[in-house]
């Protein structure tokens, strides 16, 4: 069995959140994807570049909103400009309406999840995000 060349990336400045998230997502999707975590936007870009070099495709990014340096909505907008096919999800403890609106408009935000989140919501959002990819993209996930 080879290691998947498709990844789900979680970005949050809080390690406890990252660990919880990663284990949660891994539990549901098993070996199908790689689960990457980054503690800051800078680290996220590093991970993205590395994965890019290794030929791994990031399908979904789940990002916190309030982080040092760049905010989640700005980050997702930048992501969308460079990788328009990546599905973007905001996860935040505090809903800033304008930021969410901005992300909807400029980052094609797939969903916004409020902290504390329920596992069901998170998994549904990721699943529907992946589903959206299947519909849109030509390279199919079968096989």
């Amino acid at each position: 069995m080879g290691v998947s060349n498709k990844a789900i990336l979680c970005v949050d400045d809080e390690r406890t959140v990252l660990l919880g998230l990663r284990d949660q997502i891994a539990k549901h999707f098993g070996d199908r994807y790689r689960y990457e975590i980054a503690e800051s936007v800078n680290e996220a870009w590093e991970v993205i570049d590395e994965l890019d070099q290794d030929g791994v495709r990031i399908l979904i990014i789940v990002s916190d909103w309030l982080m040092p340096g760049t905010r989640g909505d700005e980050f997702l907008i930048q992501i969308h400009q460079r990788f328009p096919s990546i599905v973007t999800v905001l996860l935040t403890g505090h809903a800033d309406e304008t930021a969410i609106e901005r992300a909807r408009q400029y980052a094609n935000l797939h969903a916004y999840i409020a902290k504390p989140w329920s596992e069901e919501t998170l998994i549904d959002v990721i699943r529907s995000g992946l589903g959206k990819l299947d519909d849109e993209s030509s390279d199919c996930l079968c096989g």
């Binding site: 069995m1 080879g2 290691v3 400045d13 809080e14 390690r15 406890t16 959140v17 660990l19 919880g20 998230l21 284990d23 949660q24 539990k27 990457e36 975590i37 980054a38 503690e39 680290e43 590093e46 991970v47 590395e50 309030l66 982080m67 040092p68 340096g69 905010r71 996860l91 935040t92 403890g93 505090h94 409020a114 902290k115 504390p116 989140w117 329920s118 596992e119 998170l122």
Partner: protein
């Protein structure tokens, strides 16, 4: 705001029994609670025990006169805010002016005209109350701004806890199915290394970054291949997820088992239980800190005795409350010396740090460097708060501690922050200095370590 009954009490300080009788009658009829002191000395003795809402102070008295009594009341941070109305038969303008200069709020000429006296007293009582309410409202407004940020601070650990619980539940469910079947198939040596592995995972507090995990996986794969073990890929995958950076020798018996991948998978599930439990603990600590910080901030105006406390803790409380506004654009440098505890009013000091830090953040427009340092100098604890903000121009530097002095837009600042800071520091017998050039502003607070000696000195002097 409900005013406490004693706040509406009035203390008459006069040596003439006749005057006292007339005033007591008048004031009682008008619904005030009245207390009497027959000399300046007696007044100074009594006031700390039962703080009146207002003082009617005769000027000419044997012993210390009204002016001196007033001076001493104004010198004490605890009594300086009580409004004082001077009374005297002196109609001399010079005396009226002197009384007002000494900090009196008004002047009544004897013989006292009843209606006028009551009207003036009422005006000053309600002014005082309005002022107190304003200070309170200011604090509440600041609190309101913080609530949104704090929602994030609390929801984040809550989210982590919720996720971790669901992870623990499913991992437990899975291992409970597998473990009873798996364990009997393991030799004693294999069992020992199974539990050894779990111990190792529990004790290693590090959480690897994705990149470290990937590098670890590569290294592990190589090592496993060197040992000529089957399934190096799957084993490396599971081991790296568990963050196993230790030598592989102790778990070799396990890795050599025929169903090593399944065994490791079970160990991994158990490590999820361990890691997520620790995660919950961390998250609870985080949430507790935030809640404590909030409680510290709101607890206030309690007439309490000073206690020994660590100054740095109060500063950290404020930094926790402000975490959100700080973390996006402000670099915080904390240099705390190891210091003795300080006898102080910790909640009030928190307000000092709160105001100084929020001023600094605002002056930097939420971007820049906030440097906080504590040290011990000349039997004082010195707290220094520096920012890289706009700075304070020389023209206004002398005025910033005045109540209601602000350069901020309407609704942004009331200008009460630094005057509150000043009062609280005075209460601690400390002092505050400020140095500022554009791009570098430092507030330095000096708090004496011999608070109790200074305090008893003050009381003796009265």
């Amino acid at each position: 705001m409900q005013s406490k009954p004693y706040k509406d009490s009035i203390l008459i300080v006069d040596d003439a029994p006749n005057n006292i009788r007339v005033l007591v009658e008048l004031l009682t009829q008008s619904g005030f609670q009245v207390a009497v002191a027959r000399s300046g000395e007696q007044a100074l003795e009594r006031i700390p025990e039962a703080t009146p809402g207002l003082i009617l102070l005769d000027i000419l008295m044997p012993g210390i006169d009204g002016f001196e009594t007033c001076r001493r009341l104004k010198a004490n941070p605890e009594t300086r805010d009580i409004p004082i109305i001077f009374m005297s038969a002196l109609t001399d303008v010079v005396d009226k002016v002197k009384g007002l200069e000494m900090g009196g709020v008004d002047y009544l000429t004897k013989p006292i005209v009843h209606a006028e006296a009551i009207a003036r007293i009422n005006v000053h009582l309600s002014l005082r109350q309005a002022q107190r309410r304003l200070v309170q409202e200011e604090k509440m407004a600041a609190l309101g701004q913080l609530v949104a940020g704090i929602a994030h601070e609390v929801n984040t650990p809550l989210g982590a806890i919720q996720a971790s619980i669901s992870n623990i539940t499913s991992s437990l469910e899975q291992t409970l199915k597998e473990l009873p079947i798996l364990l009997p198939t393991l030799s004693p040596a294999q069992q020992a290394s199974f539990f050894g592995l779990l111990d190792w995972v529990r004790q290693s507090k590090v959480m690897l970054s994705s990149r470290e995990e990937r590098q670890l996986k590569c290294t592990l794969k190589q090592k496993l291949a060197d040992y000529q073990l089957p399934h190096p890929d799957r084993l490396a995958d599971t081991l790296s997820k568990m963050g196993v950076t230790a030598a592989l020798d102790p778990i070799l018996p396990l890795l050599q088992a025929a169903d090593a991948p399944a065994i490791l998978e079970t160990a991994y599930q158990l490590s999820i239980v361990q890691n997520n439990s620790r995660n919950i603990q961390l998250a609870v600590e985080r949430a507790t800190k935030v809640v404590c910080a909030l409680k510290n901030y709101v607890r206030q105006d309690m007439v309490s005795a000073p206690v020994h406390a660590a100054v740095a803790e109060g500063i950290d409380t404020v930094l926790i409350i402000y975490q959100n506004q700080i973390k996006c654009g402000i670099e915080v440098e904390r240099r705390y010396a190891s210091l003795p505890q300080l006898l102080c009013y910790p909640e009030e000091l928190i307000q000092v740090w709160f105001n100084l830090i929020s001023n600094a953040i605002q002056a930097m427009n939420y971007r820049g460097k906030l440097a906080i340092a504590t040290s011990k100098q000349d039997e004082h604890i010195v707290v220094q708060i520096a920012d890289t903000g706009s700075g304070i121009s020389p023209e206004i530097k002398a005025r910033i501690f005045e109540p209601f002095f602000t350069t901020k837009a309407m609704g942004e600042g009331t200008g009460l922050g630094l005057s509150i800071v000043n009062d609280i520091i005075a209460k601690h017998h400390g002092r505050i200095e400020v140095e500022s050039t554009p791009g570098h502003t430092v507030f330095r607070v000096w708090l004496p370590l011999n608070f109790s000696a200074l305090e008893s000195n003050r009381i003796r002097k009265q």
